[in-house]
Symmetry: C2
Subunit: 139 residues, 2 copies
Amino acid sequence: MEPKGRTRMTIGQLAEKTATDAQTIRYYERQGLLLDPPRTESNYRVYDENSVTRLTFIKRAKEIGFSLNDIKVLQGIADGEVRQCSEIQAFAESRLSKIRAHMADLTAMERTLSSLVNQCALSDKIEDCPILETLTERE
Amino acid sequence: MEPKGRTRMTIGQLAEKTATDAQTIRYYERQGLLLDPPRTESNYRVYDENSVTRLTFIKRAKEIGFSLNDIKVLQGIADGEVRQCSEIQAFAESRLSKIRAHMADLTAMERTLSSLVNQCALSDKIEDCPILETLTERE
DNA sequence: AACAACCTTATAGTAAGCTATAAGGTTGCA
DNA sequence: TGCAACCTTATAGCTTACTATAAGGTTGTT
């Protein structure tokens, strides 16, 4: 841990440091993902290293496939609203099953579409197009 | 092919027949995915079997992973703006590569998240949670 | 003092694909 | 004739995660 309250940054510096747009940081604040930071006399937001950690947490969680809403829950857990690691595990598992369901959908699409594309090579006449045929045919 | 102009349906009947909401049918019309149908004297839309075919085309294409915008392009092709099946093939291939890219993203997420979830079993203390650790650790 | 480059807020727009609501006209049947 | 169940339009709202714009205040440098 860096010494607390040592670094002081404007929103632009935090944005730079975390490769996030300043607008996005304000947006996360409005959404309750980032605490309202202290302000200078002229009402500028002041951030420190903890803010960098927070924001990095958000970016990592997004990469892993959590939505902003999921991340709020994760933060609640990290901040001690919940005591058991198993609760996070369960939460991550539910997100995992959503990801897997989404993958299954895409796999089915991929299969159908790639097989259609492969059938295309046979003829270049539009009347024989297997893709249009599939889309139009009666069940 | 059914005899043309034989069947006459209201929007509700078309909706029923294609398992689509009537609102959605009007929405597709506004988006240019369905032609403006003829109207009765009292301004009710009148549909026929061609409309069923059109709408079924849209639903199938959606299932295969085309967006509504993609579908407009497909329809342009089907309606004769383009003559070569290879053009549809190329279009389908570009959609296919988007689907595959999306799948690759999800696969990476799935891998990370499932490995984290598997590490969870070791301890139930929140301080040891591998998920929170991963999200918070410095690079 | 001038000026760019920052910061502030509020508000609205984007993408995609609907879904809901209001306020009214029409049809079909008892 | 009454009434439900349809139909019509226009308008606004939903979801997610921003992004843009306007209109203004502050900071730092020359």
